[in-house]
């Protein structure tokens, strides 16, 4: 599809890759699209995530290890117990940022978690979830599949991660970034704007006010997420904390609206790119998880969320 974050759909076990306008045009007109055949790298994620550490922190760490050019023309296959334990939304966050390492696609193997999430949409195609799970297994990699690179990551000691520079691979532990003052906290985007992300942030924001020096902006990813957040009382939590709650939109992520930074401003953001000028000319963005962003909003500076849990 015509957006680089199309790779998000890899969470469902689909080969999904971003393309430009002409590829879209020819795809619509002729039903064809070309790809240089990608190689696959396997990333095995082991251990267990600590409370306060999320898929966003995992993928930021992986991008740091690989660099922004480390997975170019490759598919990143995410496997291991930590991935299996992830919800579909967490897997989407993981796959969403595969492009930031240059990957053609990020992919998770479709399993019971996938089938359960998709069930409302596929219930007419299968007699039971069990049968859907069985069917999905045909898309699993062969046991003797060859990978161009293998990487294993034990996340048991992984701290929340934060970017510090102007590339998504310039990542540090939140401990090193703690204390960095911010002017704006932005929670939303295709990376981290889903209901679980909002619940996560609300966990810290509940009953608290954001710091006086912070402009807080929340953009739920879709109208459905927005409605659900309203029903769950999450929008109220954000508003009482002092956030501005906007319509679903890409918005400030790419400097279009709803939080465009002024020169010299610093934003703690749950988005996916900290490129120079992207959120606003002369501004700087620190990428992080929704939990870290919420903690940052309350303290007025980058903060390890685990301290506030």
């Amino acid at each position: 599809m015509g957006d680089s974050h199309t790779c998000t759909h890899g969470a469902f076990g689909a080969f999904a890759a971003g393309v430009g306008t002409t590829d879209l045009e020819v795809g619509i007109l002729k039903g064809v699209c070309s790809f240089r055949t990608p190689e696959t790298m396997r990333i095995t994620i082991t251990g267990a995530l600590q409370d306060g550490v999320s898929a966003k922190d995992v993928i930021l760490f992986i991008i740091k290890e690989l660099t922004v050019n480390g997975a170019t023309d490759k598919v990143m296959e995410f496997v291991g117990p930590v991935v299996e334990a992830m919800s579909m939304e967490a897997r989407m966050t993981l796959c969403n940022m595969a492009i930031e390492a240059g990957a053609t696609c990020g992919i998770c193997l479709p399993d019971r978690v996938t089938a359960q999430y998709l069930w409302p949409f596929i219930k007419d195609q299968y007699d039971s979830i069990d049968l859907a799970v069985e069917d999905f297994a045909q898309w699993h990699s062969d046991p003797d599949a060859e990978y161009v690179k293998e990487m294993t990551l034990d996340v048991s000691k992984l701290a929340p991660q934060v970017t510090f520079g102007y590339k998504p691979d310039e990542v540090k532990s939140v401990t090193e970034m703690d204390g960095t003052p911010v002017d704006q906290v932005y929670i939303g985007s295709c990376t981290n704007g889903r209901i679980e992300d909002l619940r996560s942030a609300a966990r810290i924001l509940k009953g608290k006010k954001i710091a006086a020096n912070v402009r807080g902006i929340l953009s739920p990813a879709t109208p459905k997420v927005y409605s659900q957040a309203m029903e769950e009382g999450i929008i109220a939590i954000f508003m009482e904390a002092g956030f501005c709650v906007t319509n679903p939109t890409c918005g400030a992520c790419l400097g279009m609206s709803n939080g465009v930074l002024a020169e010299g401003e610093i934003c703690a953001s749950t988005t996916n790119r900290n490129f120079n000028g992207r959120m606003g000319k002369g501004g700087i963005v620190h990428l992080m998880s929704p939990l870290t962003a919420a903690a940052t909003a309350v303290q007025g500076h980058i903060t390890d969320p685990r301290k506030l849990l």
Binding site: G2, D3, S4, G18, V19, G20, T21, T22, D23, E25, V26, L29, K30, G31, V32, S34, R36, V68, N69, T72, D73, I99, G102, T104, Y166, K167, L254, G255, M256, R273, F275, N276, G277, R278, K281
Partner: protein, 171 residues
């Protein structure tokens, strides 16, 4: 088919991303030409001034992973409307590279040592492209001829003037 070659613009940095090449706020323009003044507006590169350094240039020479980030094809169009139809680099981001060939333009990948050679030719360098021979001739402090690889399919796209023209004829 486009014309390839001209004065070289050296962008001595890796990982130049498409936000730097053309910021998102200009993506609402509905003609390619409207993008022209905004080329490389946000490029973070010491000594580079997009208002002065683009004028008269026809070829970009750069380092690795050029065009990373967003898939916006506007990043290719903004070069096109500034009469830059060739980018020569150590490597390209996947989507940008494909967008270049889809527009009938050249994204030439050269080994690091050949990129080093080009950077070593000084500031006033003229580059000619021989598509049939798959060579570039660079004239700066000295003259060098460098071979490049161009796969059959990409060559066909360039000759056809882009993916749309090619697909129209063949599918």
């Amino acid at each position: 088919m486009k014309e390839f070659g001209g004065k070289a613009l050296f962008l001595d940095r890796s990982d130049i991303n498409t936000d730097e090449i053309i910021p998102a706020k200009y993506l609402t323009e509905n003609t390619k030409l409207a993008l022209q003044p905004f080329i490389l507006e946000d490029l973070k590169l010491g000594g580079f001034d997009p208002r002065k350094d683009i004028e008269g240039k026809g070829v970009i020479v750069t380092r690795a992973n050029f065009g990373c980030g967003s898939s916006r094809e506007h990043a290719v169009w903004v070069f096109e409307v500034n009469d830059i139809n060739v980018v020569i680099g150590e490597s390209f981001a996947r989507i940008f590279r494909q967008n270049m060939y889809n527009c009938g333009m050249l994204a030439i990948e050269l080994p690091k040592k050949d990129i080093e050679t080009l950077f070593g030719l000084g500031e006033a360098v003229e580059i000619a492209v021989d598509l049939a021979a798959c060579t570039i001739t660079a004239q700066g402090s000295k003259k060098v001829v460098i071979s490049f690889k161009l796969n059959e399919f990409d060559k066909k796209l360039v000759e056809a003037g882009g993916w749309l023209a090619y697909a129209d004829k063949n599918y």
